[in-house]
Amino acid sequence: MSNTRNTRVESALQSLLERLVPQQYHNESEADAERRWEDANVLARNLVNAEPESGTVEDVNLAADLIKEKLLRGGTERRDLERATSFGNLYSRLLSQPVLGQKWGILYFLHRIGEDDGIENGDAQRASQQEAFDEMEVDEPVELGRKSTAKKTSYDDAFARDGLPRMPRAEGPKSPRPPPVRDRPVPTRQKSVPEAKPPQQAQSAAPNQAKPGESALLRDLPFTLQGLSSNNLPFGDDLALKLPANLPTPLVSLLHTLAEPALLYKSLSQFVESEDVGGLVSQSLRSAIGTELRSYLSLVAQLEGQIRRALQQLDDNLPNGGLGKAGVTLKRLVVWTRDATTGLRLMSLIVESAKGKKGGELISLIHSFAISHGDPFVHSFAERLLSNITKPFYNMLRAWIYDGELEDPYQEFFVFENRDDRDGMGVGAMSVWEHKYALQSAMIPSIMNADLANRVFLIGKSLNFIRYSCGDSAWVEKHSRDASRELSYSDPASLYSSIDSAYSTVMARLLSLMEDKFALFTHLTALKKYLLLGSGDFIGLLMESLADNLDQPANSQYRHTLTAQLEHAIRNSNAQYDDVDVLRRLDARMLELSHGEIGWDVFTLEYRIDSPLDVIVTPWASKQYLKVFNFLWRVKRVQFALGTTWRRCMTGARGVLGAVSDKLGEDWKVARGAMAEMIHFIDQLQWYILFEVIEAGWEGLQKAIRKPDATLDTLITAHTSYLRAITRKGLLGGGHIDFPSQLHELLKLILAYKDAIDSLWSHSVDEFGRRQERAAKIETRTKAGRWGLTEADDDMNSSFASTSINRRSTREGEIDSPIPPLIPLPGGPAAVAGNEAAILDHLRLRLKTLRGDFKTKITALLGDLRSQPDTDMRFLGVVMNFNDVYQPATRRRARTGEPARAKA
């Protein structure tokens, strides 16, 4: 302490005291006044000469903050805010003033002086201060002070002990009475300090021993930052850091800030070292975080170097060990570790939210930080993490799109293998394509969009399919050798392009395999040709040769006969020029007997499709083909039967029928009309199905298949929709209107009508025969010179009739008749013989009913067709009823009209 300073202090103090201590009260003795002056002087000197020792936080900002806080303490009232604002202005002006060397001191001084006002416990405070200075004072207010101690410790710590110079201890030469070192905490105001508070005892006992200085703390901090316990800052058992007791609040808060990276580091390193295997992506997350932690550790190492250097420069003489000058303080450390702390915090956030997630979800999670976070730091950090984490993912992706193999031991990829289905499905191509792998949309990482993921899925699936179902693993290997490329997150453009190129290569290969090796289109054509009755000569021949056979009951059908007839039909039609492979697959067989009673009902053609084509022609598709075939077959058969009958009528019209036209001519006329109606119906139906439905569908299928970017999936969907269109438009679909059963009824009616006509025919033939016989007899008798007709002829007549009936029934058996004899003949043939006329009446009635039924049904059908949304189907209705013969009603009206017509 220099002399000039002393004198300056002295004079300033004197003048200050003069202003503060009143000269003499009017009723006060001079001695008293003198004593008062002395006291004041002593007091002032004692205090003032107490040199600030160390541990002072000489921070002008801290003092300013204290003042601001104080100003604002009254709440957020307007006045307070204004005062705080004006203080802020003044403060910034003060800072710009170059004159003062101890700005913090002055501010702090003002702060302390100003504390008097507006503090509730001002009395207690003053009392305790007083007590500190004046031992003669009674201890009474101390109780108060102590009571508030517990609450206020932390704050007191901050300002009474360490943050600011302590009370004078050493006796200066001028101090006659050393003030007692009681060191009561000075209660100032309440402030709650969260978490990890040092234990509150040992406060008043020996604060100076328990308190580690900032330098000591600094020395320990590098260890703390690495998650290691140190003397002053031991770690608790589970992620907790114990702060030493008796630290001032600013230090405590700094240490809190510094404890964050330490604790985060500790928990993260636990995560990194944890043993549980969470999948490849989590493993790589772990390793990426490990890398980040290493860079954090290197930062800590740098810090440690800085701290060491600073601690070596420490000068014990300077206040606070001259730490501020050495350049390393706790605050600096906070600043230096700030970025690292953010990184650690982010990582711990990631680790927390990554719990229970794996693979794609995990990548999506981190990717969401990379794309949707506004903070560029977070963004770049997440990007960095991503480039590491996605490595196993890209390896999987690579194996998948180049080898078609799923290298995914932990089910992290967005494609997963369906293991359960395998035994149930067999190992057919269908299962490889449809069921072996599945796309898991939740696992698609957000770095890929759904479209791309779908492509990737298709690529791998196709490769797999080529390898396992098409038996072309050589190509797959070649592909993987040629095209394989390193994929990484950092280069999305090349990723997309390589996925695209792989996609197009694989798809093209798969299609060409399908086309060339497995002759997909040949088979599709064959299916259309044979099952959809595309080649008429073959079907006609088959039907002709099978007709007799199929009239037999279903249980007397033998497969070998059918196949023999099939062979016959093939040999004698254009089918013989077809591919051997195609013909080999064609097979005739019978459905289960439950389908019907006679051969027609159970006969079916089959076209065997094997792996891998059954991916396209699925079992479902085969069933649809079968359904269409059966329907067409039935239509064809009705047409065939009608044609036969029609031919007979036409040829017979000139001979047999012409002879009996006097008796049956009217019947035949009506019957021919009805038959023509039916033939028209059948022809239109068949024409519609073959040309409007099947051919149009086929056209669409061809177009879809020839599309340049076709994939196997396109083929499958195209084929499926082709079949769907056929079944729907072909009146076989199960819409809300039941076309199949309507058509079935109609066809049944037609067949029944045809049988009735056959009966009529045989009846006519009988009649004709009888007449001829009679004529011949008359002729013979006339030649013999007898009467042409005698009474005995009547008897002859009856016996002849019975034989003719017999003959007719045998003939009827030859003609195809799925329906049992139409007219339940009353009694035996003998009775029939007598009831020739009755039979004819029955026949006529039957024909009439059938005709009426047919008309009703077709009207209903036309009504339904008219209400169809599909133009083709409406068109069918128009074609069938081109000249408005029928009066189709809408369905509702038709329904109400039906009973009326039935009554009529």
Binding site: L16, I113, G114, Q129
Partner: protein, 73 residues
């Protein structure tokens, strides 16, 4: 602190500083007049412990109050 070679400028700066401080002190209700404040500032500038100084001033005020109460009564 940059040295002030111009005494006039220095004086003005000092006055300004005191002005500012005085405003702050009125904001804080310290009850110090300008003169006392400048004494305090010079004391602190000369290394007197601000906390202690504050304590002294408060103590003196308290005593005065007491004395006045005693003597006035």
């Amino acid at each position: 602190m940059p040295p002030m070679n111009d005494p006039e400028a220095k004086k003005r700066a000092a006055r300004e500083t005191i002005d500012i401080l005085h405003e702050i002190s009125t904001l804080l209700n310290t009850d110090l007049d300008r003169q006392s404040l400048s004494y305090c500032v010079s004391l602190i500038e000369n290394g007197v412990n601000p906390e202690a100084l504050a304590a002294v001033i408060k103590e003196l005020r308290a005593r005065q109050e007491r004395d006045e109460a005693r003597l006035g009564a």
